[in-house]
Symmetry: C2
Subunit: 449 residues, 2 copies
C-alpha cells in the first residue's frame, strides 16, 4: 500500500488547511466567478419551479432564523435550509456546470458557502478560495472511485458533492487538520443519492442534500463532534463501501499544482450534453446563412452512437421529451437560433412549424465520432447544400463559453424572474467578487418581491 492509500484523508485534510488564497492562480479565481454566475442563473431560473414549491411547502414550518436568502425568492431562512433549497434549485433545470470528467461541481458547494457567507458577511475572496477547494475535494474524491461507483448506481453529484461542501465549509470555518478530517468523515457517512431517482424531483434533491449535509458536517466538526480520521480509505470507509475501484492517487496527485475547477464546463443549451454539438452546428449554419425553417428541405446529422441511444424520441409531445429528441433540438436550433429553456417549452415542442421541420431531420450514428462532436448537413429547397463540422461543442473545455456567453445565458435564465437592471447588477457584482467585502450583497441582489 502506498502512503496515499493508507493516509489519504489526512494528507488531503492537511492540504486544505495549508492552502492560501494567494496560491490560487488568477485563471482559476476567474473560473470561480464564471461558475458563480452560471449557478446563480440556474438557481434563480428555477426558483419558482414546482420542485421548489413542493419542498418549501413541506419544510417552511421548520425553518429557523432568517439568516440567508432563498435565491430569486422573497423568503429568508436558516443557513441549513438555504443550503438545501438553493442546492435543489441549482439542478432542477439540469443546466448547471459539469466537470469534464464527472460531477456537477457548483450545485453541492455554492449553496452551502453562499448561505454561510451571507450570514457571516464573508468576503468574496474567501468565498472564491473555499469554492475552489470544495470543487477540488468533490472532483478528486469522486474521480478516485469513478466510473465503477457511478456504474453501480450512485449519483456522484450527491455522493461526492457532500465532500465538496464539507471541505469548502471547513476552509471557511478555519478548521485545523484533525477537525477537517472529521468534517470529511461526517460527510462520508452521509454520502448518498441513487441514480434510480433520475427523472424524479429527487435527482435535484441530491445536490441540495449534499450541500446541507456537508455544511452541517463542518459545523459539527468545528464543535468537536468526532468522526473517523480515515473515512475515505478505510476498509469500511467511503471508497471501499461505495465502489469496487479506489485510486487514492487521484486525490493527492498534483495537489495545489492543478485545480479541478480548471476543467469546468458550462452548458449553453438546456438539454443533455450529448446533443450540444449538433445544436451548435445548426445554430452556426443558421447564423452564417440567415436560414429560416421554410428554406430547409432536409437536415442530416452524423454523431456518436450515444446520441441516438439517449435522444431518439422521434415525435416528442412535451418539453421534457423534447430534451431527449435530437430531432426537436436540431429543428428548434435551425428555426429559432437558440436552444435555451424557452425552446424546450411544451408549446414550442408542439408548434406545427417546428414539428414539420423536425420530421425532416435524419441522423446517422458513426462510432468514429466523439461524444461532443457532430457533422451537420442542411439541404436547402433552392438546391444548395450547407455543411458544418463541430469538433468540440460550445461549452467544452476545448471551446469554452465566453464571459459574454455566460452573461447572455444568465439574462435568459433570469428574464422571467428579474427586471433587466437587477440581472445586470448581479452580473456586475459577480465580476467584482474578488474585491467584494460581503458576499451577502450578491444573495440579497437576487431577491424578488
Amino acid at each position: 500500500m502506498t502512503m496515499a492509500n493508507t493516509e489519504v484523508t489526512r494528507l488531503f485534510s492537511e492540504f486544505l488547511v495549508a492552502s492560501r488564497y494567494e496560491e490560487i492562480p488568477d485563471a482559476v479565481r476567474h473560473e470561480a466567478k464564471r461558475a458563480l454566475l452560471n449557478w446563480l442563473g440556474c438557481a434563480i431560473g428555477s426558483s419558482r419551479h414546482e420542485t421548489i414549491t413542493a419542498m418549501f411547502g413541506a419544510l417552511s414550518p421548520f425553518v429557523g432564523a432568517p439568516q440567508a436568502t432563498l435565491l430569486g425568492r422573497p423568503e429568508r431562512v436558516d443557513i441549513l435550509h438555504a443550503a438545501l433549497i438553493n442546492g435543489v434549485s441549482s439542478h432542477v433545470l439540469d443546466f448547471d456546470d459539469t466537470h469534464a470528467r464527472a460531477v456537477h461541481p457548483s450545485a453541492p458547494v455554492m449553496p452551502a458557502i453562499l448561505a454561510y457567507g451571507e450570514w457571516q458577511k464573508i468576503s468574496g475572496a474567501a468565498l472564491i478560495h473555499a469554492f475552489v477547494l470544495g470543487v477540488d475535494a468533490e472532483c478528486r474524491i469522486g474521480l478516485s472511485v469513478f466510473p465503477e461507483h457511478y456504474d453501480r448506481g450512485w449519483h456522484i453529484t450527491g455522493t461526492a458533492g457532500v465532500f465538496g461542501a464539507a471541505a469548502a465549509m471547513g476552509k471557511l470555518l478555519g478548521l485545523d487538520a484533525q477537525r477537517m478530517a472529521w468534517a470529511l468523515g461526517i460527510a462520508a457517512t452521509q454520502s448518498s443519492g441513487l441514480r434510480e431517482m433520475f427523472g424524479t424531483m429527487c435527482k435535484s434533491f441530491h445536490p441540495g442534500r449534499a450541500a446541507q449535509s456537508g455544511l452541517s458536517a463542518a459545523l459539527l466538526a468545528e464543535k468537536n463532534f468526532t468522526s473517523s480520521l480515515r473515512a475515505i480509505e478505510a476498509p469500511r470507509g467511503f471508497a471501499h463501501v461505495l465502489s469496487t475501484k479506489f485510486d487514492p492517487s487521484t486525490i493527492t496527485d498534483g495537489l495545489g499544482q492543478r485545480y479541478e475547477l480548471s476543467l469546468n464546463m458550462y452548458k449553453p443549451y438546456a438539454c443533455g450534453l450529448v446533443v450540444h454539438a449538433a445544436i451548435d452546428g445548426c445554430i452556426q449554419l443558421k447564423r452564417e446563412h440567415a436560414l429560416t425553417a421554410d428554406m430547409i428541405a432536409a437536415v442530416h446529422v452524423k454523431t456518436s452512437p450515444l446520441v441516438p441511444e439517449l435522444t431518439a424520441i422521434r415525435k416528442p409531445q412535451t418539453g421534457l421529451e423534447g430534451k431527449f429528441s435530437i430531432f426537436h433540438a436540431c429543428a428548434v436550433a435551425l428555426a429559432v437560433g437558440a436552444a435555451g429553456e424557452p425552446q424546450f417549452a411544451d408549446a414550442v415542442v408542439r408548434n406545427p412549424q417546428i414539428a414539420a421541420l423536425r420530421d425532416r431531420v435524419a441522423i446517422t450514428a458513426d462510432a468514429g465520432i466523439r461524444k461532443l462532436e457532430a457533422y451537420v448537413t442542411v439541404t436547402l429547397k433552392d438546391g444548395r447544400t450547407l455543411e458544418k463540422h463541430v469538433p468540440h461543442a460550445l461549452g467544452t473545455v476545448e471551446r469554452p463559453m465566453s464571459d459574454a456567453d455566460l452573461e447572455e445565458k444568465f439574462r435568459s435564465l433570469t428574464a422571467d424572474m428579474l427586471p433587466p437592471a437587477q440581472s445586470d447588477r448581479i452580473i456586475g457584482l459577480v465580476w467584482q467578487l474578488d474585491t467584494l467585502a460581503d458576499v451577502g450583497e450578491i444573495a440579497r441582489a437576487t431577491v424578488t418581491p
Copy 2:
C-alpha cells in the same frame, strides 16, 4: 422475477396504507410500550453526554420554532432537529433495543414520530400503530439485503432505519399509496451510514440522521415531492446499489400476520450483547450464593469464540475499554451484582479490588456454544465449585426482560437526570400509552430545568 421482486415497493406501500390499528395484536402493542420505555431511558440517560453537547452546540443557531422537546433537557426545537438530536441520544450509550436478527429498531423511528406527535398532539394509539409499522419497514427492508449489506460496511441501523422513520411518518400523515412509495423513495436516496464510524460520535449520528431524513421524506412526499415508485427493487435502487444480496420475499412474506417488533430485545447490561450471557451467569451465582469478591479464588467462563474475538481486553483502563473486556464484565457482575452504565465508569474499571478479581477470570472459547449462551464456573477460596449454564442471556427473545426489569433499567438510566417521582410519572404514562390523547405529555414529562 417474482411479483415481489418487481413490485415490492408498491406492495409494501399498499400494506402500510391499508393497515388498521385494530389489526395489531395486543402483545405487539404492549411491546411498543416496552420499546418506548427502554428508548426513553436511553435517550434521557445520555441527554447530557458530550456527543449531545457537541451536536446541540453546533446546530442551535439554526433551529426553528419550539415544536418538540429535546428529551431530558430544557430546550424545545423544531421537529426536524428534535428527531435528529433525540435520535443521536437514543444510541450514544449503545444500550437501546436490538431486533433479534439486525437493526436497532427504536432509535431511528421513535424520535421522528414522538417529535411530530408532540407538535401535532397525536394520540398514543396512533403512535403505537406508526411505530409498529415503522419497525416492520426497517427490519424487513434491512433483512432483505442482510447480511451482505452489513458485511460490505453499512451500518444497517442508519441505512435501513431511514425507511422505518419514513414509513411510520407516512402512516401518521395518512399518505396514500403513491405518496407512501415516494416517501420510501426519498428515504432510500438518503440511506447512509458507514461502519468505519464505529468508535466515534458518528455511530450514534446514524440513527439520528435516519430519523430526521425519514421524517422529512414523508413530509416532502405529502407535498408532492416526487420520487421513484420502485426505489427498493429497481436495478439502480437501494437493494442492488447497497448490497449484493436481495431477497424481496423478506419484505412481503406474512405482512400483517407477524410483526417484526415481536422479535425485539432489550439489553439489561451496558455493553455488547456478546458478553451478556456470561454476565448473566455471574449475577445469578452472586445472588444465589451471596458471593463477595474476596470469597472468589477463580472464575472460568466458556463461551462462543466470538466473545474473546470481540471483548478480549485483558487490562482495561477506561470505561469504554471495560465494555470490551469480558474479564472486567464478569468481575464487576460478581462483585456488584449489576452491569449497568455505572459499572462501566472509568473509576470502577480502575478500582483495585475489581481489577484483582478481573485478573482471576479465565475464558475458553468453544465453537459448540452459541453467541448468547455461556457456562460460568466459580471456584471459591473455601474449596467449593459453583456452576451456572446460561442457555439464553436475559434480554433475548427466549428469555425477555420483564416489564419490571425494564422499569428498573429506566430508573437506573435516569437516576442522575430526574427526581424519582418524575421517572415514576414517565413510567406510568408509558404503560397508559394506548389511552393517551396527546403523546406530547410523555415528551414534556422528561424536561429538566
